[in-house]
């Protein structure tokens, strides 16, 4: 059976999601999308200039991609909701990544406001992908509010520190019946593979690709690492255990 990711009834062939900020140019961003075959790309509404002749970012996103608009810059639920509506009016579709950040130093999200915005936007028919601090109780509230997936951060945005919050993310993977997309903090392809081995449904990367020496090659590397991590998860590759476990069972003689 094909191992496709399905979110809101839509089949997503590549579990590597790419952010479109911070690139040195839109053509380079486009090359990175094509080379990595990323299907799901996120675009900041604040950057979209539909009036611009050449500088409209949407023109550089391949048609086969799903655009997930993001609410970057929103500081509370009300602003996120307004940005989401602007995105839909600008032709960005129904996919919305809710990103509510009332902290400009660490760029950590506000779960309470995110839950409120999710509830409003899900009712309005958006496919809501909330970015959050990995907290089980809040993830359950997002589920109840109508989120289509849960996107916990691996580490603060732009830090490239990897899956620092792995224990908490592991719990979300276990307990929440929605695709878990690890978003933010992923700095290397090996980090992305690690997140996928944990059971994440997908990984979203931006800074590590956009600011790399060679963003196109780096995007490909991430895409492959995500596939490898996914295969490892499906294959049940032995996870590190907290306690020793004998390779020959001690009770094997009992029939």
């Amino acid at each position: 059976m094909e191992d496709h990711l399905i979110i809101a009834g839509q089949v997503i062939k590549n579990r590597f999601f790419l952010g479109t900020g911070k690139f040195a140019s839109y053509p380079l961003m486009k090359d990175a999308i094509i080379a990595s075959r990323a299907q799901m790309v996120t675009v900041a509404v604040r950057r979209v200039d539909t009036q611009a002749a050449q500088d409209n970012i949407l023109k550089y996103i391949p048609k086969e991609c799903i655009i997930m608009a993001n609410t970057s810059g929103a500081r509370n639920a009300d602003e996120a909701v307004r940005i989401a509506r602007i995105a839909r009016a600008a032709g960005c579709g129904n996919w919305i990544k809710i990103e509510i950040i009332p902290d400009n130093k660490y760029l950590l999200p506000d779960n309470v406001q995110t839950i409120q915005a999710t509830e409003v936007l899900a009712k309005e028919g958006f496919i809501v992908m909330p970015y959050m601090n990995p907290d089980l109780a809040d993830a359950r509230r997002l589920y109840d509010a109508g989120a289509a997936s849960i996107m916990p951060l691996g580490a603060p945005i732009g830090t490239n520190k990897g899956v620092c919050l792995r224990e908490l993310i592991k719990i979300l993977v276990e307990e929440i019946s929605l695709p878990i997309v690890v978003d933010a903090g992923i700095g290397r392809p090996s980090h992305a593979a690690e997140a996928m081995e944990l059971g994440a449904a997908a990984v979203l990367v931006n800074t590590a690709v956009a600011t790399a020496e060679d963003p196109v090659l780096t995007a490909q590397a991430f895409s492959l690492a995500v596939k490898a991590g996914r295969l490892a998860y499906r294959a049940g590759v032995a996870a590190a255990k907290d306690n020793a476990e004998a390779s020959s069972p001690l009770t094997g003689f009992l029939r």
Partner: protein
């Protein structure tokens, strides 16, 4: 009012800056280079003469921080002067009251024509500026101008005389997205020597302006000191501390810092502490390492070649195609601008320069809500 940055500032009243800066050793800088986040005295040590020896490795760190936080992107904006009437007599300023220059205040219709001209270049962020004359250019007039500008731009930042919290709230409701206000110098004695008369002589009212704007929920706040008035190390240091104080108290504010350098102008002010390019770069790098998330703007006060070289060191915003005269874009402009423009490139030329450096010029980085 509640706690103010003034309290932190006065805490340094007896601090011996000269002695501290002279006693910074190589090991101190090496240690700072290894740190992930800097204390205030780490920051100050980067403003010492000793730190100049480590300018290159410090620049490398600054670039890493800037890339991680802002990517290979430079946002563009254009200044729009709406009036040069001024009740102040700042010794160093071309618009000062006692200068016999042509005075002009744009009508709201004229503001619209200027806006249309700027918008043609693709610029979507505008900085509205005016001299300090509450009689000629009152808050109600500025409010009308903001409402007009909102039809052409997605972000309107104001660089005007300091207001009360209620007045800031009024302008935010009218569509003001950000505030730029420079303390000029944080040195109180020097401040009083330079600002002898007019409303600007109130040091404290100006110092607390960013806080009042933040209380009124201004989204973006940019601060700075006019470098060249006093010892740069001290002013850059307090600018950084002011920024960090605002960041801690108002984490939702998008903080920016600028490094305006004094340039020749219509007055006869002799700049005794002129800042070298090297010191400007040092200041910018130190600020980036102290406040990795702060936006850094560089205006057309600086020449094209320097502006080009500063990309990658920490700059995140640049003005382009600027006119500093009232009516400079589309109208019969006043003769004198607030300062002389060193980079006279057009918006397209600035974009090309940024692209050549391997960065992306961005005209829109905010969506007015």
């Amino acid at each position: 009012m509640q706690s103010s940055f003034f309290d932190e500032l006065t805490g340094f009243g007896s601090f011996d800056f000269i002695s501290f800066l002279e006693n910074v050793r190589r090991e101190d800088i090496q240690r700072v280079l290894r740190k992930e986040s800097l204390s205030e005295l780490d920051f100050l040590s980067l403003l010492s003469h000793q730190a100049l020896e480590y300018l290159e490795p410090l620049a490398q760190r600054a670039q890493e921080h800037t890339l991680a936080n802002f990517g290979r992107v430079i946002s563009l904006y254009a200044p729009l002067y709406i009036s040069n009437y001024c009740d102040n007599d700042c010794l160093y300023c071309g618009f000062k009251h006692s200068n016999t220059i042509q005075r002009k205040k744009l009508s709201v219709g004229e503001v619209e024509r200027e806006a249309q001209e700027i918008a043609k270049s693709g610029i979507r962020h505008v900085l509205l500026l005016t001299g300090e004359s509450k009689d000629v250019a009152p808050v109600s007039y500025i409010k009308e101008c903001i409402q007009v500008l909102n039809q052409y731009f997605t972000s309107v930042v104001i660089e005007i005389y300091p207001l009360t919290q209620d007045e800031y709230a009024l302008l935010i409701a009218a569509g003001a997205d950000g505030l730029t206000i420079y303390q000029e110098t944080y040195d109180q004695n020097l401040y009083h020597i330079l600002h002898t008369q007019g409303p600007k002589s109130d040091y404290r009212f100006r110092l607390d302006a960013p806080q009042r704007a933040a209380e009124a929920r201004m989204r973006q706040i940019n601060i700075g000191a006019l470098l060249g008035l006093g010892e740069f190390g001290k002013d850059v240091f307090f600018t950084g501390l002011h920024g960090r104080w605002l960041q801690k108290k108002y984490p939702e504010v998008e903080l920016g810092v600028s490094f305006p350098r004094l340039q020749p102008h219509a007055g006869n002010f002799v700049c005794t502490h002129a800042l070298s390019d090297r010191e400007l770069v040092q200041s910018m790098i130190a600020m980036r390492l102290f406040l990795p998330r702060a936006g850094i703007a560089i205006s057309t006060r600086e020449n094209r070649s320097l502006r080009k070289n500063l990309i990658g060191l920490g700059v995140t915003r640049m003005s382009a195609g600027s006119r500093t005269q009232v009516g400079g874009y589309a109208l019969d402009a006043t003769k004198e601008g607030q300062f002389d423009i060193a980079d006279t490139s057009s918006v397209d030329e600035v974009k090309e320069m940024i692209i050549q450096k391997g960065y992306q010029p961005v005209c829109k980085d905010w969506q007015a809500l």
